[in-house]
Amino acid sequence: DSLLGEVLVVELNTAEPWPENATLYQPLREDQILLSDCASSLAVQAYLRMCGLPVRVCCRANAEYMSPSGKVPFIHVGNQVVSELGPIVQFTKAKGHSLSDGLDDVQRAEMKAYMELVNNMLLTAELYIQWCDDTTSSEITRPRYSSPYSWPLNHILAYQKQWEVRRKMNAIGWAGKTLEQVYEDVSQCCQALSQRLGTQPYFFNKQPTELDALVFGHLFTILTTRLTSDELSEKIKSYSNLLSFCRRIEQTYFEESGCFSGD
């Protein structure tokens, strides 16, 4: 029964071309969006631009609640709503657009593994720094997260989110880490990415893939976001090939809009 449903969905998807009014929803850029959400949103935007699929970016204060999985960003295409980079990649693949078709099996395995490396280490580190470091949490994260709401809802929502993230950190074993150890993990992750990239223009030589979009989204956002300390962006700046990688993608795919990152 569900298998038939899936087949129908795939057929419907492939039948419809990509519409002109596809929209991407994210939290408010100036005041509300956080580092981790901005990184995820930028990764999706980069991916869609690499595929040549036009999408309009729409900022909404309640984007997180509108999303089907509770995570941002999500795209609204035709009558479908899809959130997070993984499902969006599969969705565009069903419509016939894919960046990783030219890879062989071993390369595809490596691509998926490195994407999980970014999710496992880089995204988790961003969440840790935002919500588990008391300075950052009280000075930047909580005020930003709760900015669209009035008292007392802003306090309740912010603390609820913080408590949820801290419990998750506890469950995966990150609660015992110090900030220095987290910075060290970021450094290791960047070293691995830098090693894999080497001197190539993209991770799999000439053509960008979803891995390039994901890495760009996270690294660029970290480089251009002001936090309580510069240590995170300094870690990335120490790898020159990652810096030129980010600049290359920005110039190739984002040249018409000069400033689009959350700050």
Binding site: S69, G70, K71, D105, V106, R108, A109, E110, K112, A113, Y114, E116, L117, N119, N120, M121, E164, R167, K168, A171, I172, G173, Q188, C189, Q191, A192, L193, Q195, R196, G198
Partner: protein, 316 residues
């Protein structure tokens, strides 16, 4: 001469040196790196130096848990299985370990601890039979609750319930992950050539329980069995590095749990049994004396028997 290192881990069964994935990872890495460890195979996590298993106890630097920390500590002591890896291979190791943790581990947690049939028939039964009294009533359910909570937090859905939809999503990711690992391994003996590294330890630690412990709801097992090179990889490591366990496997199922091996708690178990029997007998005798069921009468020795009868009647 390096300080003696002691490793506390869960006991083994079904032909494995340990039933727990993290313990297997650490044991395999230690064998690959040639680290001389004194291994304590226990079934009571409260007896470990950190309260959880696996745990590495060093003489100077205290105790560590979590496989990543233990491996770092072993590397510090110059037992490094990744010494020969190039920088790119080290980067690949980080990436593939992340792949394991993000895509395979949630499904493994689900299939061993959350899936109703598997948990009740296999996992809970093993832990309840092997953990000493009275923890065997508390711990399995507590671990079950904690694993379900962990799945909920990682998926970001506090209302998650075990069911077909969740199983489908988790298994889909896990099957893809296993296929990717199989493609990366190809026809090589280990992931990076001819000698094993930490990535091999992690993959072995996660896949070996799935291979060896027979589960009633075994979709993941079927897929793993269909990937010949991964199955060969696991059995290879078992035969090469843990030969005693794989040989004992058929006999172990028949033998009693209390027999054999170098179990630390066995002398204590015997001593506890004797002490508890003595205590019970002593308690019964004490109650009997106090309530008058048994009385010891100290009667002075009499020469004539008929007098004794008369005097006894008077005393009553």
């Amino acid at each position: 001469m390096a300080a003696p290192l002691q490793l506390y881990c869960w006991r083994g069964d079904h032909g494995l040196p340990s039933v727990d994935a993290d313990c297997l990872t650490v044991l395999a890495y230690a064998k690959f790196a040639g680290a001389p460890l004194k291994v304590h195979k226990i079934t009571n996590p409260w007896r470990s130096p950190t309260g959880i298993l696996p745990a590495l106890k060093t003489r100077e630097e205290g105790s560590f848990s979590q496989p990543s920390k233990i491996i770092i500590q072993l590397r510090k002591q110059k037992y490094n299985a990744d010494y020969d890896l190039s920088a790119k291979e080290c980067a690949d190791t980080l990436a593939f370990v992340s792949l394991l943790e993000e895509k395979l581990l949630p499904a493994l947690i689900y299939t061993h601890w959350v899936d109703a049939k598997n948990y009740v028939d296999v996992t809970r039964r093993w832990y309840a039979e092997n953990i000493p009294f009275p923890l065997n009533f508390l711990l399995p359910n507590r671990i079950h609750g904690r694993q379900l909570e962990r799945l909920r937090l990682v998926r970001g859905d506090p209302t998650l319930e075990p069911g077909e939809q969740l199983e489908k999503e988790l298994y889909h990711d896990a099957l893809e992950c296993m296929t990717l690992l199989s493609q990366r391994l190809g026809s090589q003996k280990f992931f990076f050539g001819d000698s094993p590294s930490s990535l091999d330890a992690y993959v072995f630690g996660h896949l070996a329980p799935l291979l060896k412990i027979k589960l009633p709801n075994g979709k993941l097992q079927q897929h793993l069995n269909s990937l010949d090179n991964l199955r060969q990889f696991c059995t290879n490591i078992l035969v090469l590095y843990f030969p005693s366990e794989s040989r004992e496997a058929p006999a172990k199922k028949v033998s009693n749990h209390a027999d054999g091996g170098d179990f630390d708690n066995e002398p204590h178990k015997r001593r506890n049994q004797i002490l508890s029997v003595l205590f019970a007998v002593g308690a019964m005798l004490g109650y009997a004396f106090l309530s008058g069921i048994i009385t010891i009468k100290h009667t002075p020795a009499r020469l004539e028997e008929p007098h004794v009868d008369e005097e006894e009647e008077e005393e009553d």
